[in-house]
C-alpha cells in the first residue's frame, strides 16, 4: 500500500492532533530545510528518522539505528545459524537413531573396533591370555616346565630353592657355609657372645693342656673335665645352639693349632714343668685360673647386665622421649592442612554466595545479574503479515498512534520499568499444550505440536506484541489444520514478543521446502528458526 502526500498528512493530523494546515506548513518547511542543506552539501538529520544527504544530484537517506531496529523487531533475538554445525548435526542425529535400530550400532562399533585395534583392549587381551594359559596349562605342565618357568620368571622361588637345600642338607660340604653363617651369627651377637669367645679360647687352652697332660696327670684332666662340664652347662643354659656350632669351629681350630705354634702350648709346657716340680702351686694356679674366669664372667656379666639395663633404660627413655614427640608431630601435622582447606572453603563459599546473590538479582552485580527486561508496551504496533491482517490491525494501529510518539523514547530512557514476566521468561519458551495422537508423525506441518519435535525448526509467520492476539492467531491457524507453536521471545527494547509459527521440521531444509507450499499470505514474509 502506498501512502501518498495527502494520506500522510491525514495520518500526521490523526497522530499528533495538530491542525492540517500547520502540518502541511511544517512539512513544507522541513522539505525546504532538507533541500537547502543538501544543496549546501550538508546533511540534514531528523531525530528518530534518519539522515538525508546528497551525493551529486542524488539524495540518499540513512535510517537511524532506532528506526532500523524498530522495523526489525519481529526478528529480535535472531542470530546467524551456522550451517556446518546445525544442519549437519540435525540430519545426522535422527538418522543415527534410525540406523541404530537397523544396523547394530555401526558408528559406535567402528569406533570401538578402531580403539581396540589401536590401543588398550589388545594389550589387555595379550596380558590376559598368557595368564589364562598359565592357569589352564599349569595342571598339564611337566615339572621341568614349571621349574623352567620358575627359574626364568619368579626370582623368589629361586631364592627359596637355594635356601631350602642348604638348610635341609647339613652335609659336611655345607658345613663351611654353616660355619660362615655361624660366624655371621656370632658377629650379629658379638656383643652378647664376646664372653663365650673368651671361654672358647680358654677351653682350647684346656684342650691343649688335656692332650698333653692326659697321660701325665689324670687328676687335672678330671678337674678340667669338671670345669668344662660346668661351663658347658652354663653355656647350654644360655645358648645351646651356639655351642654346637662352636664345637664345629673348635674342631677346625684344633686342626689349625696343630699347624701353628700356639703360645698356649708353651704355657702348657711350663705348667707341666711346674706340675712336675710343685703340684700344689700348680693346683693353686689352676684354682686361680678356675676362679678368675668365673670372676671375670660374673663381673663382665654383671657389667654387661648393667650396661644392658642402662641401654634398655636409655632406649626406654628414648622411646618415651620419642613417643611424645611422635604424638606431638601427629597432632601438629593435621592442624596445618585443615586451616588452608577451611580458608579455601570459606573463599569458595563466599564467591559462590555472592555469585548466587548476583545471579538471582538479590544483589546487583554487573556482569552477573541478568539484565532486566523491559515491559511489553501495549503501544507497540501489532505487526502481522500485512496482506491478511491489515484490515484487522490497521484500525488498531490508527487508534493507538495518538499515544505512541513518546513511547519508544520512554522505553529507552527508562529501562528500569520492568515487569516480572519478562524476567521469568528469560529464554524463549514454546508452548505445546496438547498431546499428539499416536498415529501422527513426529515432524510435519499439520497436526498437533509434539514436544519430542521441539529440537527441530519451525516457520514463524507472526510476531505479535500481545499474547491475546497470538492466541487468537493460534486458534485460527489450528482450525485450519496447521501445527501451531507460540513462542515467547523476550526483548529488552520491545518487551516480550509472541511468535506464532507453523510446523515442526527436522531440518531447516525440510522447513524451507514446506514454506514454499504456504499460502501467499505467509510465503512473502516468514522466517525459519530453530524451535527453542
Amino acid at each position: 500500500m502506498h501512502i501518498d502526500h495527502s494520506k500522510l498528512v491525514e495520518l500526521l493530523v490523526e497522530t499528533s492532533g495538530i491542525e492540517k494546515e500547520k502540518i502541511e506548513s511544517q512539512l513544507s518547511d522541513l522539505l525546504e530545510e532538507v533541500i537547502a542543506a543538501i544543496e549546501e552539501g550538508d546533511a540534514y538529520e531528523v531525530d528518530g528518522l534518519g539522515v538525508f544527504s546528497g551525493i551529486g544530484n542524488n539524495v540518499i537517506f540513512i535510517p537511524s539505528d532506532e528506526l532500523s531496529t524498530e522495523i526489525n523487531y519481529k526478528y529480535v533475538g535472531m542470530e546467524p545459524i551456522e550451517m556446518d554445525d546445525a544442519p549437519a548435526q540435525e540430519p545426522s542425529e535422527p538418522k543415527k537413531e534410525e540406523e541404530d535400530t537397523d544396523v547394530d550400532d555401526d558408528p559406535f562399533a567402528g569406533l570401538l573396533d578402531d580403539v581396540e585395534d589401536e590401543t588398550e583392549p589388545a594389550a589387555s587381551f595379550e596380558l590376559d591370555v598368557p595368564e589364562e594359559e598359565e592357569t589352564v596349562a599349569n595342571p598339564e605342565m611337566s615339572s621341568e616346565e614349571k621349574e623352567d618357568k620358575g627359574e626364568d620368571d619368579e626370582a623368589p622361588f629361586d631364592l627359596d630353592d637355594e635356601e631350602a637345600p642348604e638348610e635341609e642338607k647339613p652335609g659336611p660340604d655345607k658345613w663351611g657355609i654353616d660355619t660362615y653363617k655361624d660366624d655371621s651369627a656370632e658377629t650379629m651377637f658379638s656383643g652378647l657372645l664376646g664372653e663365650q669367645e673368651e671361654k672358647e679360647t680358654e677351653k682350647e687352652d684346656h684342650f691343649d693342656a688335656l692332650f698333653e697332660q692326659e697321660e701325665e696327670s689324670p687328676k687335672e684332666s678330671s678337674f678340667i673335665d669338671d670345669l668344662l662340664a660346668e661351663e658347658e652347662q652354663d653355656d647350654d643354659q644360655e645358648e645351646p645352639a651356639v655351642l654346637d656350632k662352636i664345637d664345629v669351629s673348635e674342631s677346625d681350630t684344633e686342626d689349625e693349632k696343630e699347624d701353628f705354634d700356639d703360645p698356649f702350648k708353651a704355657l702348657a709346657d711350663e705348667e707341666e714343668e711346674d706340675e712336675l716340680t710343685d703340684p700344689e702351686p700348680s693346683k693353686k694356679k689352676e684354682e686361680e685360673e678356675e676362679v678368675i674366669p668365673v670372676i671375670k664372667n660374673l663381673s663382665s656379666e654383671s657389667k654387661k647386665k648393667e650396661k644392658e639395663s642402662k641401654v634398655k633404660e636409655e632406649e626406654a627413655d628414648k622411646e618415651q622421649d620419642a613417643k611424645p614427640k611422635k604424638k606431638k608431630k601427629a597432632t601438629a601435622e593435621p592442624k596445618s592442612p585443615p586451616v588452608m582447606l577451611w580458608i579455601l572453603l570459606i573463599i569458595i563459599l563466599l564467591g559462590g554466595g555472592t555469585y548466587g546473590l548476583g545471579y538471582y538479582g538479590i544483589v546487583n552485580i554487573p556482569g552477573i545479574t541478568p539484565e532486566p527486561q523491559i515491559a511489553a508496551t501495549n503501544n507497540q504496533p501489532q505487526t502481522t503479515p500485512p496482506e491478511t491482517t491489515q484490515p484487522e490491525t490497521t484500525p488498531q494501529e490508527q487508534q493507538q498512534t495518538p499515544a505512541e510518539p513518546a513511547e519508544p523514547e520512554q522505553t529507552q530512557e527508562a529501562p528500569e520499568e520492568t515487569s516480572p514476566e519478562p524476567e521469568q521468561e528469560s529464554e524463549a519458551e514454546v508452548r505445546t499444550t496438547e498431546e499428539a495422537p499416536a498415529d501422527q508423525p513426529t515432524y510435519g506441518m499439520t497436526g498437533v505440536p509434539v514436544s519430542a519435535a521441539n529440537n527441530g525448526y519451525t516457520i514463524v509467520v507472526y510476531s505479535l506484541s500481545r499474547e491475546s492476539n497470538a492466541e487468537a492467531k493460534q486458534r485460527e491457524l489450528s482450525e485450519d489444520g496447521y501445527r501451531v507453536l507460540v513462542a515467547t521471545v523476550p526483548s529488552q527494547q520491545y518487551g516480550t514478543l509472541w511468535r506464532v509459527s507453523l510446523g515442526q521440521f527436522r531440518t531447516m531444509r525440510d522447513a524451507a521446502l514446506a514454506a514454499e507450499d504456504l499460502d501467499q499470505t505467509f510465503s512473502e514474509n516468514y522466517f525459519i528458526t530453530k524451535i527453542q
Binding site: 528518530g48 551456522e82 510518539p405
Partner: protein, 65 residues
Amino acid sequence: MTKEFLETLSIVIRDQIIMKNSVEIKGLGTFKPVHHNQKQEKRADGTNVIVPPKDTIEFTAANKG
C-alpha cells in the same frame, strides 16, 4: 517546525514501513520497505551460516537526475 511534528512524522513513517506500506513525501522522495529473506552466506572463515531475515528502508528521491 516543532519537535512534536518531527516525532510524529518519524512514528508515522515507522509504523507504515512496519506495515509494509511505502510513504511518499512530496518534493523529497518515497520511503519503501524492503524485506530481505533469510539466506545462506559463506563467511570469510569458510563457515556457512543462515543469516536471519531483515527489513530495511529504501529511499527514492523525488527529483531524479
